[in-house]
Amino acid sequence: MDRDLVERARKGDRAAFAVLVHQVSDSLYSVAYRILRDTGLAEDALQNALVLAWRRLPKLRDLDRFEAWIHRILVHACYDESQRTRSWRGSVVALPIELAGVTDETSQVADRDELERAFRWLTIEQRAVFVLHHYLGLPLVEVAELLGIPAGTVRSRLHYATRSLRVAIETGAAIPASEGRLA
C-alpha cells in the first residue's frame, strides 16, 4: 500500500482515496461476501466501510496500518449488516453461482452444501475470525490485532466455528454452535 497515497487521502485528497479504494475493494468485498454469504449484503457492507473509512481517515495514526485498519472497519460493517438482517439467516439461500459449473464428486458438492448451511449457523463474530484466518490467511495473532480482541477470544471463536462445521458435515445437518449462536 502506497503510504504517500494514504497520507494524501488523509488530508482530504479524494483522488488519492479513490486510488486506494480500487486497490483494496476486491479484497474487502471478497471478505464481506464470505462473512455474510450474500452478494447484496456484501455490497452494502463494502460501501458503508468505504464511506466510513473516508470519514475516519484523518484519525488514522499509523499510515502503514491502513490495510488492516480498513479491513477492521469492513468487519464491523459486516456486523452491522448482520444485525439489520437477522431474518436472512433462517431463509433458504442458493449456493454461489460458481458452484453450478463445478464438476466435483457428488460427495464434495454435498460437503459444500452442508458447509454453506452450517456456516450460516455460526455467529457473525465466529465467521469473521474463520474467514480472516482461513481465507485471508492471517495468523491468529494478526486476526486478534485486526479485530481488537484478545488472541484467546480469537482461538475460542475459531475452535467453536471449526467444531460446528465438523459436526454439521458429519451429521449432514446444520448444528448450532454451542458457544452462542446468533439470535
Binding site: S25, T39, E43, P58, H134
Partner: protein, 238 residues
C-alpha cells in the same frame, strides 16, 4: 472427513469459491457518496495521550496524585446526577445567583462520578452510533471497558484548560488547550493545535459551573463525546 485439519482443508477450498472482485457499481456508488461526504476532523480534543514522552508521563502521574488527593475528597460525596439525564442547572441552587463567567476561580473542577454500566447502556442506546463507533467510545475514547466508575474534570488556569477523565480512580485520558470568555455566558475551548474550537454556554453559580454545547458536533460520535465530557455541572475541588 472427521478431523479438524480435514475440515479446515475442505472449508478453505469452499471459501475460495465465490466472487473475488468487487462489483464496479458498488465501488462507484461508494465513491459518489464520498464525493459529497466531508471527512471528520481529527478530534479537536484527543481525549487520550497515546505517545506520551517520559517527562510528560511523569508530569501527568504527578498531577494524577494531586487530583486523586484533592479531588478524591470531593468525589467521596455521592453524585446526584444520573448519566444520560439532563445536567442539573446551576440556577437550581436556591441561595445562589448566577455570576459572570469571568468570575470563575482558577482550579480543578470535578464533574459527577458515573457508573460505567450506565455510560455503556447510554452508548448502546444511542441509535445514531454505529457498532464501530460504540466500540471506539468504550475501548478507546473513554477507556471504560471492564471498568466500574468514570468521571471528568477540567482544570482552568490562566487561560489554559486541561480536560481529564478518571476511570476507577486513575486519570488516564486528557487533553489541553486555551479557553476564553467571549461574554459572561459563553466559553470557547480551543484544543492546542486545532484551527477552531467548541463554544459552550456557561452558567456559573458559586464554585460551580454548568456547560451546554453551542457548536453542533459534526458526527454522532462527537456529539456523544462532547455531551459526556462537558455537558455537566463541574464543582471546584478544595
Amino acid at each position: 472427513m472427521s478431523d479438524d485439519r480435514s475440515i479446515e482443508r475442505t472449508a478453505r477450498a469452499w471459501l475460495e469459491l465465490g466472487p473475488t472482485q468487487a462489483p464496479d457499481h458498488a465501488v462507484e456508488a461508494a465513491l459518489r457518496t464520498i464525493d459529497t461526504t466531508s471527512q471528520e476532523r481529527d478530534l479537536r480534543i484527543p481525549w487520550r495521550l497515546p505517545t506520551m514522552n517520559p517527562v510528560a508521563r511523569t508530569a501527568i502521574l504527578a498531577s494524577v496524585v494531586i487530583v486523586a488527593v484533592v479531588g478524591g475528597i470531593y468525589l467521596l460525596r455521592p453524585a446526584t446526577q444520573s448519566f444520560g439525564g439532563p445536567p442539573p442547572t446551576a440556577t437550581a441552587a436556591p441561595t445562589s445567583t448566577p455570576l459572570p463567567a469571568s468570575a470563575l476561580q482558577a482550579g480543578t473542577y470535578v464533574g459527577p462520578t458515573f457508573q460505567v454500566t450506565d455510560i455503556i447502556a447510554s452508548i448502546n442506546a444511542d441509535t445514531d452510533l454505529t457498532s464501530l463507533e460504540r466500540t471506539t467510545l468504550i475501548d478507546e475514547l473513554f477507556g471504560i471497558k471492564d471498568k466500574k466508575t468514570w468521571s471528568a474534570s477540567i482544570v482552568l488556569r490562566g487561560g489554559q484548560y486541561t480536560q481529564r477523565q478518571t476511570v476507577d480512580g486513575i486519570t488516564v485520558i486528557g487533553s489541553a488547550g486555551r479557553y476564553t470568555f467571549p461574554d459572561d455566558q459563553t466559553i470557547d475551548l480551543v484544543e492546542t493545535g486545532a484551527q477552531s474550537g467548541t463554544r459552550f454556554a456557561i452558567s456559573v453559580v458559586g464554585d460551580s459551573f454548568t456547560l451546554r454545547s453551542l457548536t453542533p458536533p459534526p458526527t454522532a460520535l462527537d456529539a456523544f463525546v462532547v455531551r459526556t465530557l462537558f455537558e455537566a455541572t463541574f464543582t471546584l475541588a478544595r
